[in-house]
């Protein structure tokens, strides 16, 4: 029930915003805030049930949707999706608060985006997953295309079309792969397919797995994005209106990494293991390339885009380490990165509103007049660069540990990325907030902005010092996924990993 509320209430208000509330902006804002808030409460209300048994599907609903091919509207939550859904709801509330002056359509599209993303995390039917996965493109198309701001050479229209065509092209082959799975297994129901795998009645030979895996991988790699599929990213983040930036940078990338973890590993373990080498290589390239390019970016949002490229490289590295620590770190980092990047985009939006642009050169010496803005920005930047006691540290540490089990070189190379992230974030902070000439004209955080950023800062610290509150539910699911990756494997796994699971707190 809670899940359905979190999924459908935004949809209802989206439809209302497009029709009845079209003309009354104030009403639309109230309704949107209400819908986003109730969704958040509903997603929090799911916690106890999931906590009890994280590997079991909670809040499961399954309704026949299409008779043939049998497609079910089948949704549910487990330990892996729980925090992702909650953070989606939270970031949507933040985004709605930050778009108080926008028109009804804008708010409506934001809510549709929320519904789409929650749907992706909750879908238990492969076809339904695909529908939600593609549905998220529609609100982005209008939010970015209609409300985006040209940034330098990148026009918002060009960035929108680029984003759309890239991600759309990436995912069409996944539909073909899903269809193949359906024709083979007789069902789109993911849990059912996994049960068949477990019972041994459904097996994909390594030769079958490879093309299927690559089709899934391509869709998720473009969405994440993983180097070299990131061409759409910087323009998109730079031109997106700030509230969209919060949701897009914070969450859309997670659709890709979530898909890798949820589907690619259990369904195609042979292929995934076979490809792990070069995928980890790409992840390292993403980490280093993203960080190096971020250093030289003159624009805060572009810098954050490349920082995301780098950080999501960590997540992919963790997933393809095939070690429980790596998987846990990846799952944890998905949530942490959503919180941190969401916060950074809120603040970037605040800065952009003050100065009309996000060019770093437009700023300098802000800190003396804007202590709150400067402090929150510093906390978010430090969290993003992996300072211990803040959230990203936990995830990145676990990932590095997992990567070290997969190969020490990976961990060493990725470690350089952590250092580089401190370089670009702190240097950006220094150029923006510090400096010899104090900025007298810029205002500090308003109450509304403080309300938006507050919960995110609290979460950064909470998730940093007390990961035991969050990690175990994810870890339980990851254990199961790791178990599943050994089930569909035809050859024996070379070196069974001996080390005990070590959690990072």
């Amino acid at each position: 029930m809670y899940l359905l509320i979190a999924l459908f209430l935004p949809l209802v208000v989206f439809l209302a915003c497009l029709t009845a509330l079209r003309k009354s902006q104030q009403m639309a804002f109230t309704a949107s805030l209400f819908a986003a808030g109730v969704s958040l409460l509903a997603s929090l209300a799911m916690i106890p049930e999931v906590m009890q048994n994280p590997t079991k599907l909670s809040q499961a609903t399954s309704v026949n949707w299409i008779p043939y091919p049998p497609i079910h509207f089948s949704v549910g939550v487990d330990g892996l999706s729980l925090w992702l859904i909650a953070v989606t709801a939270l970031l949507t509330v933040v985004a709605v608060v930050m778009s108080s002056g926008r028109d009804s359509m804008f708010l409506g599209w934001l809510l549709l985006l929320e519904a789409g993303i929650v749907g992706v995390f909750a879908a238990q039917d492969l076809f339904l997953f695909f529908v939600f996965f593609e549905l998220t493109l529609l609100p982005v198309l209008f939010l970015m295309g209609q409300y985006g701001k040209d940034s330098g050479k990148a026009t918002s229209m060009g960035a929108t079309i680029k984003f759309f065509v890239f991600t759309f092209a990436g995912s069409v082959l996944m539909l073909a792969a899903m269809t193949y799975l359906f024709l083979k297994a007789g069902t789109f129901d993911y849990q059912n397919i996994l049960l068949q795998v477990q019972a041994g009645s459904f097996r994909l030979s390594p030769a079958e797995q490879m093309p299927l895996f690559l089709a899934f991988f391509l869709a998720f790699a473009v969405k994440t994005p993983l180097f070299p599929f990131h061409a759409w990213q910087a323009d998109a983040y730079a031109t997106a209106p700030s509230p969209l930036g919060i949701v897009m940078a914070g969450l859309m990338g997670k659709l890709g990494t979530y898909g890798l973890l949820r589907f690619c590993l259990p369904l195609f373990p042979n292929a995934a293991r076979e490809c792990a080498g070069w995928i980890n290589g790409l992840a390292i390239l993403a980490i280093l390339y993203g960080a190096l390019v971020a250093i030289v970016q003159p624009n805060i949002k572009r810098l954050l885009a490349f920082s995301s490229l780098s950080h999501l490289g960590f997540v992919v590295l963790g997933i393809f380490s095939f070690h429980i620590n790596g998987l846990d770190g990846a799952a944890y980092q998905m949530v942490c990165h959503a919180v941190t990047t969401g916060a950074l985009f809120v603040l970037a939006g605040v800065l952009e509103e003050r100065k009309g642009s996000c060019e770093i050169s437009a700023f300098g010496g802000l800190a003396s007049r804007t202590p709150w803005l400067a402090t929150t920005f510093l906390i978010a930047a430090l969290a993003s660069s992996g300072l211990p006691a803040l959230n990203n540290f936990v995830g990145e540490y676990l990932i590095l540990q997992g990567a070290a089990f997969a190969g020490f070189g990976y961990a060493a190379a990725a470690g350089i990325g952590v250092i580089l992230s401190a370089v670009y974030l702190l240097w950006m902070y220094q150029r923006t907030f510090l400096g010899p000439n104090p900025d007298e004209a810029t205002a500090d955080l308003s109450t509304q902005e403080a309300i938006a950023i507050g919960p995110l800062i609290v979460l950064m610290i909470w998730m940093g010092v007390s990961s035991g509150n969050f990690l175990p539910v994810q870890s339980a699911v990851n254990q199961k996924i790791l178990q599943q990756t050994k089930m569909n494997v035809e050859f024996r796994v070379a070196a069974p990993v001996a080390a005990e699971a070590v959690h990072g707190n």
Binding site: E134, L135, G145, S156, L175, A176
Partner: protein, 484 residues
Amino acid sequence: MGTNVMPSGEELLRFLPEMILAIFAVLVMLWESRHDEHGERPGMPAFALIGLGLAAAASIVAGAAPGYAFRNMLVVDSFATFFRLLLMGIGAMAVMTASPFLRARKAEGGEYYSLILLSLIGQSLMAASNELIMVFIGIEISSISSYVLAGYLKDDKRVNESALKYFLLGSFATGFLLYGVSWIYGLTGSTNLNEIASILGNADIAPDAVLTGAATALILAGLCFKVSAFPFQSWAPDVYQGAATPVGAFLSAAPKAAAFATLLRVFLTAFDPMADRWLPLLIVVALLTMVIGNLAALWQTDVKRILGYSSIANAGYVLVAVAAHSTLGISAVLFYLAAYSVMNFGAFAVVSLREETELKDFEGLAKRQPATAALMTVFMASLIGLPMTAGFFGKFYIFQSAIDAELYWLAGLGLLTSAVAAFYYLRVIAAMYMKPSPEGAPEMAVPAASQQAVMFVAAALTIGFGIFPGWLLDWATRSSGLLR
């Protein structure tokens, strides 16, 4: 069959839809002549619509008792009934879109409605013919009316060019078809699809495989022209762009649907025994049609031309399902043709609201006419194949049938070209929503009630079939069994 010449009542019933259309085609003309040549001549579209409604009802009644008619020349099965109803629906949309369009140009004449009905007779015959000569007659009735329709606004230079091009190339293609039919008759001694199948299927009496192959290729070439498949696709954008917009909409839907019906029936009945010979050819044709249609559309700057190339690409998708050579494939074809007719007609109906159809004339439309822009967005989203639209399920069923038939490469490459296609449909959405209104932008005509009805019904069906495709798919599946 016996020797009596008089057809039985049952046989006449199976031919009733065509007879009704013929009667109403004449009635419309007579009705027009009752009125002064320069005055108002109301009621003609209503006449046409009544005729279409009665013909549709007759199709349903006739479809309830499947069987042959006129010495096996016609076959009325659920497949034919599906196409008849689809064609009547397309005809109704063509009438409703055109009536205000033509009135605004002071060009409304009874012959337009009459020609639409006559053209539908031919197409309905094509869907139900069980005989190569009947196929030819159906195609000719359909084509000759279509040629005249393409040149309907005869004072416009582009319209004339369009009609002439359509006529010359179309006649040429029909020649191919007829030549192929004569070869088949020479080789097998029959033009009946079932008899041809039994002769070709019997190794003892089957004629020379090379010659039959050549004859099959000739017939395929003729039909490829009609569905605008590679390498006979180049006429489509010119004709659809040049013809009056409602005519373009009709031409891109009805004759194509009928040609696909013929293609399926002829190749899955008569030439089924030699499927392993023509399937590879069809696969190549399908692939190249998708590639050429989608790539050529990328550079177009006129919305009608974009829709023209898009119709080529869509023919390619349908051919993929034909190449799947299975019941699943046939039902995918039927579903897609229905979905395509609706979304494509909707898009054409929006375009018909304005004189100029350059992409830049659509800039900023969302600000000026939000409802029209929103409707156009629905049709474009469906043509892209976004979820929650009919086009999405249509493509899904097509590529599902291809994967089921183990045509993995065809399915993969087809899906990739359909992703490329997203670009040019997006350009239309981008022009409407993401570009400012240019100075002195042309106002779109306020849509008349009948045009609004077409657009809204098309949009409702596009979304409706996108959320609940079950009913249409069910019908398509029940209609996919050919009477052989």
